[in-house]
């Protein structure tokens, strides 16, 4: 089975070589037969990659330690779910997942792209094939997951304990679906540059793909943040770590792309910019892959000491980013600029959105790469951490977030900013009230807290105003209003939901940072402690045995107003003998949207245990807001006009009903 997987992977590589050349020449020569090769080859490549992935997964499931990667990252005592998720909990397997998703998306274009112009489709598949070929080669030459060991070891070395969590089942696949989803936008852009023209079907295809990739990336980042929050045991949800930044940059650029693609689809303006943004977004995904995979983040020296993988990915990076940008420089002038618009209009607002988001992306990029560049060039070592990003990224987001509610209410082409401001008066009043109430009536509220809460409420109220205005609240009779509301396009709901989710996330962040409390103390069994009005009693420390670990579980009781326990929280310290690693399992109790968070520290000789407690008000909104954003994207994807092929079907029906052939 393992050799079958290996063989399938080599075959998939060979097919990707065909995929990247034959359709391209076909499109160049106008040869229908050559172009038609693209579809079946792409689908076959996906099937083979899936077979290869299944082979690796089955090796993990059956703990086949004759496979080097299984031996290094699995253990026979692990629960089956972690054996399976361990397939991508390591470098080799995760790269295989990467190409699996890449070929899957390629196959989707091949299967459902029959309404695309033949040459465009052929070129898109060829570019997808080129990306695939580069990564297949990378896997086969430097990161082969199918390498065998002889003699086969009896037992594996266990999956890293921190990864033995359900988060590993969800986070990487979602993240990769997002990263790799943007490859489709990239391929469409490069194909458009090869052809030297962009037509209507281009925008109709790119926008839903952007939405889809953005939705997955949002989920991947939110999930990763929550995972880090509960697994790492110190209650942080975002660390501005280079690895996080690597996923955040494509998200920011993708968000900009999402918005500029709307302008392009609706008004066929900003064509060239949208195309460039699509290239940049996927380039940042590739850069993220490079940063994380090459080891360059640990230190420039670690990268230099074992450069095979790093240099290979750097080569891929240079080829695709450099190549696509060079093609852009050569061909962009051929593309015609689109529709005109007044600066004060929906288009204008979206241009501003793009300005701020692109600058924010560049800020994160420079902050992430600057220490590396400085060390490589001068040998000086500096650190760029959270305080830097708070000071630069924060102020950039402020004007953008203030402007968000205006965007959807402005008219296309030429808008009336005063009329919009008038419609937003109620939302503004609510936000101002929230700000004043926070500032005046909550103890210890800073200016930052008041402004932040006000801004979050402004976003939420603004999103609701958008829906209210578009369904005619206050200007038409209730019955008509409900009918209008129900009849609003799904994309309008999508926009409102996404902006509302953004407001909720901001609310969670500001509330947690401003009003969260913390206590660090030594506790013995029977001690009680109070934190922000919640009383907790430490019941005691209890040893227990898991399948591949032993643990000391500290149990706590939440004491109600009457003095009797109303709930239990437990936090544990686990020891994994195979890896000789300790982990902390945090104890979390969700109360409303807020959480009590307990993390167990070292046990003292006198029977006391160090305990760290947090009260995190509204913290779940941070990730809840992410889910609402995803729902917004999903809603927008269900919009009729975005369902690929819908326009042509409708036209056919119209023709049929008019009695025409």
């Amino acid at each position: 089975m393992v050799e079958t997987g290996h063989f399938a992977l080599v075959l998939a590589f060979a097919l990707s070589l065909v995929q990247m050349t034959v359709p391209l020449f076909g499109a160049r020569l106008g040869n229908q037969r050559l172009m038609a090769v693209g579809g079946p080859v792409t689908v076959a490549g996906f099937v083979l990659t899936a077979l290869s992935f299944a082979a690796l997964a089955s090796a993990y499931a059956s703990s086949d330690f004759s496979v080097a990667s299984v031996w290094e990252n699995s253990h026979s005592l692990q629960p089956l779910i972690y054996k399976l998720t361990g397939t991508w909990g390591n470098h080799e397997g995760s790269m295989l997942l990467w190409v699996l998703i890449l070929t899957f998306f390629g196959a989707l274009v091949a299967a459902f792209g029959s309404n695309l112009p033949a040459t465009l489709r052929a070129n898109v598949l060829a570019v997808q094939g080129a990306i695939g070929a580069a990564f297949f080669l990378f896997i086969l030459l430097t990161s082969n997951p199918f390498v065998r060991l002889n003699p086969a070891p009896i037992e594996g070395r266990d999956l890293n304990p921190v990864l033995q969590d359900l988060g590993l089942a969800v986070h990487p696949p979602l993240l990769y679906l997002g990263y790799v989803g943007f490859s489709i936008c990239f391929s469409f852009s490069v194909a458009a540059l090869i052809e030297g023209r962009i037509d209507a079907s281009w925008a109709r295809w790119v926008r839903p793909w952007t939405l889809l990739a953005w939705m997955f990336l949002t989920g991947g980042i939110a999930m990763g943040s929550y995972w880090a929050y509960y697994e790492l045991g110190w209650g942080g949800f975002w660390f501005w770590d280079p690895v996080e930044n690597a996923s955040f940059m494509p998200w920011l650029a993708g968000t900009a792309l999402l918005h500029s693609a709307i302008v392009m689809e609706k008004r066929s303006a900003l064509k060239i910019w949208t195309l460039l943004l699509a290239i940049l977004t996927f380039s940042l995904s590739l850069l993220g892959t490079f940063l994380v995979r090459s080891g360059v983040l640990t230190s420039v020296h670690a990268f230099a000491s074992d450069p095979t993988r790093g240099v290979f990915i750097l080569g891929i990076l240079t080829l695709f980013i450099g190549g696509s940008l060079a093609l852009f420089a050569l061909r962009a002038s051929r593309l015609t600029a689109g529709g005109l618009f007044h600066p004060i209009s929906r288009e204008g607002a979206l241009v501003l959105n793009n300005l701020f988001l692109t600058t924010a992306t560049a800020t994160v990029l420079v902050g992430t790469l600057y220490p590396l560049a400085l060390e490589a060039l001068t040998g000086d070592k500096i650190s760029v951490g959270a305080p830097f990003f708070d000071l630069t990224f924060g102020p950039l987001m402020l004007p953008l977030l203030v402007l968000v509610p205006f965007g959807p209410l402005l008219a296309w082409k030429r808008g009336d900013v005063f009329a919009v401001a008038q419609r937003l008066m109620a939302a503004f009043a609510i936000a101002l009230t929230a700000m004043l109430v926070t500032g005046l009536f909550i103890d210890g509220a800073s200016v930052f807290a008041a402004l932040g809460i006000g801004l979050a409420v402004w976003l939420v109220a603004g999103a609701l105003t958008d829906l209210a205005v578009k369904s005619g609240v206050g200007s038409v009779a209730p019955a008509i209003m409900f009918r209008r509301f129900a009849g609003l396009p799904r994309s309008v709901f999508g926009t409102a939901l996404a902006h509302l989710g953004l407001g909720l996330t901001l609310l969670g962040i500001v509330a947690t940072l401003s009003f969260g409390t913390e206590k660090i103390l030594s506790m013995r069994a029977g001690d009680t402690v109070e934190l922000s009005g919640h009383r907790l009693r430490f019941v005691g420390l209890y040893p227990a045995q898991g399948p591949n670990y032993s643990e000391d579980r500290g149990r706590f009781e939440l004491i109600g107003a009457s003095g009797s326990p109303v709930g239990e929280i437990s936090s544990a310290k686990r020891f994994f003998p195979v890896r000789q690693t300790m982990t902390t399992e945090s104890g979390i109790k969700t109360l409303g949207f807020s959480q009590l968070y307990i993390s167990l520290g070292d046990a003292g000789k006198d029977g006391s245990v160090v305990v760290r407690l947090w009260w995190k008000p509204l913290v779940t909104l941070i990730w809840g807001g992410g889910l609402v954003m995803m729902a917004g994207a999903a809603m927008s994807l269900m919009d009729r006009r975005l369902r690929v092929g819908a326009p042509s079907r409708r036209r056919k029906q119209a023709l049929a009903s008019a009695g025409l052939p």
Partner: protein
């Protein structure tokens, strides 16, 4: 080998950084004076744990981070201002410990990028909007206008 591979993956990287007991500030380190302790915590958040990846000494449980936390508190108790504490730590460990790089010539590009990009982007947008408006208003030349008037008059 396994260490390098671990470092190579997003998740394994996280794992490696945060493996072990995640318990940073311990009760025995904390100062009795809540004001001084709060200042110590705030300063700690801006200082990097030298042996960790992008972790502040406030978050890290490495021994070196603990030493640095105790050092910061000693200086505070001795009566240093926040700035003096930071300067002292930098003089001993170098600028690498600062999570917020200093605003000097060497870091000009780092701090300048957001401002510069916002300015350049903003100017570009304004200019292109203006040229487009000129384009729009100029779309009808004098001759075209004359012929249009002629056509309209004919009716």
């Amino acid at each position: 080998m396994s260490l390098r591979r671990s470092l190579a993956s997003i998740l394994l990287l996280l794992a490696l950084l945060f493996a072990g007991t995640a318990m940073a500030v311990k009760p025995d380190e904390m100062l009795a004076d809540p004001v001084l302790e709060a200042r110590a915590r705030a300063l700690s958040e801006g200082l990097r744990c030298m042996v960790c990846q992008n972790q502040s000494i406030d978050e890290s449980d490495a021994d070196l981070a603990r030493d640095l936390r105790i050092l910061v508190r000693q200086r505070l108790v001795a009566g240093d201002t926040d700035q003096q504490v930071m300067d002292y730590v930098v003089s001993r460990y170098g600028e690498f410990v600062l999570l917020k790089p200093r605003l000097d010539l060497r870091n000009a590009l780092l701090w300048g990028t957001p401002v510069l990009l916002l300015l350049v982007g903003g100017i570009f947008i304004v200019l292109s909007a203006r040229s487009r408006r000129n384009l729009a208003t100029k779309s009808l030349s004098a001759e075209e206008q004359a012929s249009l008037d002629a056509i309209l008059r004919r009716d």
